[in-house]
């Protein structure tokens, strides 16, 4: 509970985590490197198949496990990669290509297909999207059957043979091993970058992702492209391993297999799905008499996982998060640290609402509202239920488009219907119920607020280039500072869903602070907090505003409003009932009446 002890803990926990994280991979890598010593070609083939499946699954893991898209028909990437590489090497469509170039082409076709399959995800709901991926997989197989000249139709076509040093046998084995290791490294890099965290935010709390400025469309397209490329490359390798491919090698069952491997492994993990893929590749070999039943077993495993351990293997292996937490935890914010968190004081500015009106159907939610939020001020917005408080906040944060009226920042229009653009204007917000990623740690949740600050690109993150490391270092430092300012740095590595409600509130505020906001919009932050916590929250809010941030506080708690606000606006039935200082409002007869409903 003492702050001096707290900072030491997270550092220890982190270095332990890094070792824990590397150990299994080192073990797997050693096994892979040394396997050829057994000189057993049967085992070698199984291992190669596992590597190839993992290359595809590593990419699919980003789509399913991180981005949360139910892409069931992903086998189409394997099919396309396999046939592209095979056809180009065999010269059925064009003059024969060199196998390595054909493999690259397979990856490129996979990337393109990934984008085509992925685009509907931007507009369709979960089940619809799952269906379209299934449809796509069927189409690809049908085309493979029909385009006899190029693919050999139902009869099939020979797969590519790679020349030395990766020729069939142990040479090709090491080729698959190296590419599998590369796929692991690249996807792990991306997963632990700001893009990986943004994906998880999109998956579990899209609203939080928007508020943090995540550009969902661009990011998803990039992920689908990358994952498709991996799938295409896996397809080319697959065609070579099989040495002869036919359309019925790419079944719906196979597609589901990859998908199940990731879910059994657990979303948001790299190791889990890798283990899942290995298990699913190896299982039919050991369960030889049950080979017919292998898909049945996979499906039964999936059902068991969904019903019993939705977090998969990764959850089972997560010992860190089973250590008990201290019982009587207190949140002790340290407002003196806010200067570092919020950075340079912003020049005086204001958000202005002029004559805003918004109706839903026949209901006038907001009916001619004027409001001004100034830098350095705490502006309270109160009113009975249905008065339009939260609706107003939603208009300012870009979720609703008003029917009439102006919304301006320093005289320039703020765009409507673009909540994700607010981060760029350094306008941050919190929500009535804290919107956090439960399965991620507190620190990772706060880091999501730093997504827009990174300079490194998607590709730089995949390849762990210097700017990626600089971004990560800077975001982590800023996140720890924000957590220290709200008083929660001792819980940095704890899974967010283990925290109490009041702690989650403050975590959300820390995330909002990561934007170094010029304006902070708080939606009923006091709900569910104890009296002491409300006092500390109030002190924190005041301190934030004294650093120059303009705060809009939508609240029910009259005490908090009257204690800390510089100005108060009272809404009733969508109109401004009164506006002024807290003292003026308290004495205002009509306000009292409105609240008491007389």
């Amino acid at each position: 509970m003492t702050d001096t002890a707290a900072p030491a803990q997270p550092a220890r926990a982190l270095s332990l985590a890094r070792i824990e994280g590397a150990l299994p991979w080192i073990a797997l890598g050693l096994v892979g490197l040394l396997l050829p010593l057994l000189d057993d070609s049967y085992i070698g083939v199984i291992a190669q198949r596992a590597y190839i499946y993992w290359i595809l699954s590593a990419g699919l893991n980003l789509v399913v496990g991180y981005a949360g898209q139910i892409a069931i028909g992903w086998v189409s990437m394997l099919t396309l990669g396999a046939y592209t590489t095979a056809a180009l090497t065999a010269g059925t469509a064009t003059p024969a290509w060199h196998p390595y170039l054909a493999l690259v082409a397979g990856g490129a076709v996979g990337a393109l297909a990934g984008v085509i399959v992925g685009l509907p995800a931007l507009r369709l709901r979960t089940f619809y999207f799952a269906m379209t991926t299934l449809g796509f997989a069927t189409i690809v197989t049908q085309v493979a059957l029909a385009w006899k000249d190029v693919t050999g139709g139902g009869v099939g076509t020979p797969g590519p043979v790679f020349p030395w040093p990766f020729d069939p046998g142990w040479g090709f084995y090491y080729f698959c091993f190296i590419l599998a290791a590369l796929a692991t490294w690249m996807t792990a890099n991306l997963a632990s970058s700001r893009f990986g965290r943004a994906l998880v935010a999109i998956r579990d709390s899209e609203v939080a992702a928007e508020a943090s400025g995540v550009a969902k469309s661009r990011l998803l397209v990039a992920v689908f492209l990358f994952a498709g490329a991996l799938g295409g490359v896996a397809g080319g390798l697959f065609a070579s391993l099989q040495s002869y491919i036919t359309p019925d090698a790419f079944t719906f069952e196979m597609s589901v297999l990859f998908f199940i491997a990731i879910l059994i492994g657990g979303r948001g993990s790299i190791l889990g799905p890798a283990l899942g893929t290995i298990v699913l590749t190896v299982l039919p070999e050991f369960a030889a008499p049950l080979v017919q039943w292998s898909t049945f077993l996979y499906a039964a495993m999936l059902l068991a996982i969904v019903l019993l351990v939705p977090g998969g293997i990764a959850d089972l292996l997560d010992y860190k998060n089973r250590r008990p937490l201290e019982q009587h935890r207190e949140i002790v914010p340290r407002p003196e640290l806010l200067g570092r968190v919020l950075g340079a004081r912003v020049a005086s500015s204001a958000i202005t609402l002029e004559n805003i009106a918004l109706h839903f159907g026949g209901v006038r939610a907001i009916d001619g509202l004027d409001l001004e939020i100034k830098s350095g001020e705490v502006h309270g917005l109160i009113g009975p239920n249905g008065s339009g408080k939260t609706t107003t906040l939603n208009v300012i944060s870009g979720y609703y488009r008003p029917n009439t009226g102006l919304l301006e920042l320093d005289g320039a229009d703020l765009p409507f219907d673009q909540p994700q653009a607010r981060a760029g204007y350094r306008i941050a917000r919190t929500f009535q119920t804290p919107r956090l990623v439960g399965s991620a740690s507190v620190l990772e949740n706060v880091k999501i607020g730093g997504t827009v600050d990174g300079e490194g690109s998607f590709t730089e993150s995949i390849l762990a280039l210097p700017r990626h490391h600089r971004d990560e270092k800077q975001i982590k430092q800023a996140a720890m500072q924000a957590l220290a300012a709200v008083g929660l740095e001792s819980l940095a590595n704890v899974r967010a869903d283990r925290l109490q409600h009041s702690e989650l509130r403050f975590v959300e505020i820390a995330r909002a602070l990561m934007l170094r906001p010029a304006f902070l919009l708080l939606d009923e932050p006091a709900a569910g907090l104890s009296a002491e916590e409300i006092r500390r929250l109030g002190a924190l809010i005041v301190a934030i505003s004294r650093e120059g941030t303009g705060v809009l506080l939508v609240e029910h708690h009259a005490d908090l409003i009257f204690d800390i606000c510089d100005r108060v606006t009272v809404l009733n039935l969508g109109k401004v009932l009164a506006a002024g200082t807290p003292a003026e409002i308290r004495a205002h007869r009509e306000v009292v009446s409105a609240y008491l409903g007389a």
Binding site: P120, R125, L134, F136, L145, E253, Q292
Partner: protein, 285 residues
């Protein structure tokens, strides 16, 4: 040729429409899209062939038994894969649990029944031609289902309870309606409709375990296009899909017909993600 397109098209379209209605009934009761619709259709044909052709039961007995199995499977779906995940807020779990169950059943069928498509017995010996059973049986089933559902929803209290739960499940619960029992009944009903679709369409589609994937997709297209929960939309969408598919088959050949369907499906969905007769998205903040 036109005659052929019409008869095959409307017949298979009726099967697709019924599968779409199966999806809708499960969705209305639980807000869950279940992967078991195609499974039910597939089993309608397989179990029908099993009971009537292999085990020699009289057609009527076999038919009733198939529908009963459908009801039981519907109940199992609700209890095993829907109820446990309804409490969770994670939408993807619904998709996965029903998918897993449907897959298990499909694989079981593949192992026990075999992976070859088997012929479905002729039940009514009216010769080939447009009066052939394989054409009018599915259409009759579709018409009976539509009329039956209308009567259920308009004339019975339980039917109106279904509509109430579909519209506002919170208000239904507060009013004291037996939510769980109604949901179970809906899934059992969906089971009956799905197996009915598969049984009546099996002469065309054959008793084949692979029908599950086919019906999952082609039965979903009418729902996607006609709007979730809209049975009228499912019927119009299903019949249109059947006709379009048959026409494309004749004009450009089987494989490109499949591509054509998929492309149209994607285009419509991208333009109107809620379908052609859908409702607007719910409030998120």
């Amino acid at each position: 040729m036109l005659e052929s397109i019409l008869s095959y098209g409307l017949a298979v379209g009726a099967v697709y429409a019924l599968i779409g209605i199966t999806y809708n009934v499960m969705f209305s009761a639980s807000r869950v899209f279940s992967f078991t619709a195609g499974m039910l259709g597939m089993l309608g044909g397989v179990l029908g062939a099993l009971f009537i052709a292999k085990m020699g039961m009289p057609a009527i007995v076999g038919f009733v038994l198939v529908l009963a199995c459908g009801a039981v499977l519907g109940l199992v779906t609700e209890v095993l894969t829907v109820r446990p995940v309804l409490k969770s807020i994670e939408q993807h779990l619904y998709v996965l649990s029903t998918l897993a169950f449907a897959l298990m059943v499909q694989q079981l069928t593949a192992v026990e029944w075999g992976t070859e498509a088997q012929p479905f017995p002729r039940l009514i010996p009216i010769g080939p031609g447009w009066l052939d059973q394989q054409f009018w049986l599915p259409m009759l089933a579709c018409a009976v289902t539509i009329v039956g559902l209308e009567l259920l929803y308009r004339k019975t209290l339980i039917g109106r309870a279904f509509l109430a739960c579909a519209e506002d499940s919170y208000a239904a619960r507060a009013l004291g309606l037996p939510e769980t029992q109604l949901r179970m009944a809906s899934f059992a009903l969906a089971g009956v409709i799905g197996t009915l679709a598969g049984f009546t369409g099996a002469e065309m589609l054959l008793a084949f375990f692979g029908n599950q994937s086919i019906l999952n997709f082609y039965g979903f297209v009418p729902v996607a296009l006609g709007g979730m929960g809209s049975n009228r939309g499912a019927v119009v969408g299903g019949l249109a899909l059947g006709l379009f598919q048959q026409a494309a088959n004749f004009l450009v050949g089987g494989i490109f017909a499949a591509v054509a369907v998929f492309v149209v499906f994607i285009i419509v969905l991208l333009l109107r993600p809620e379908g052609l007769a859908g409702a607007s998205a719910a409030r998120r903040v």
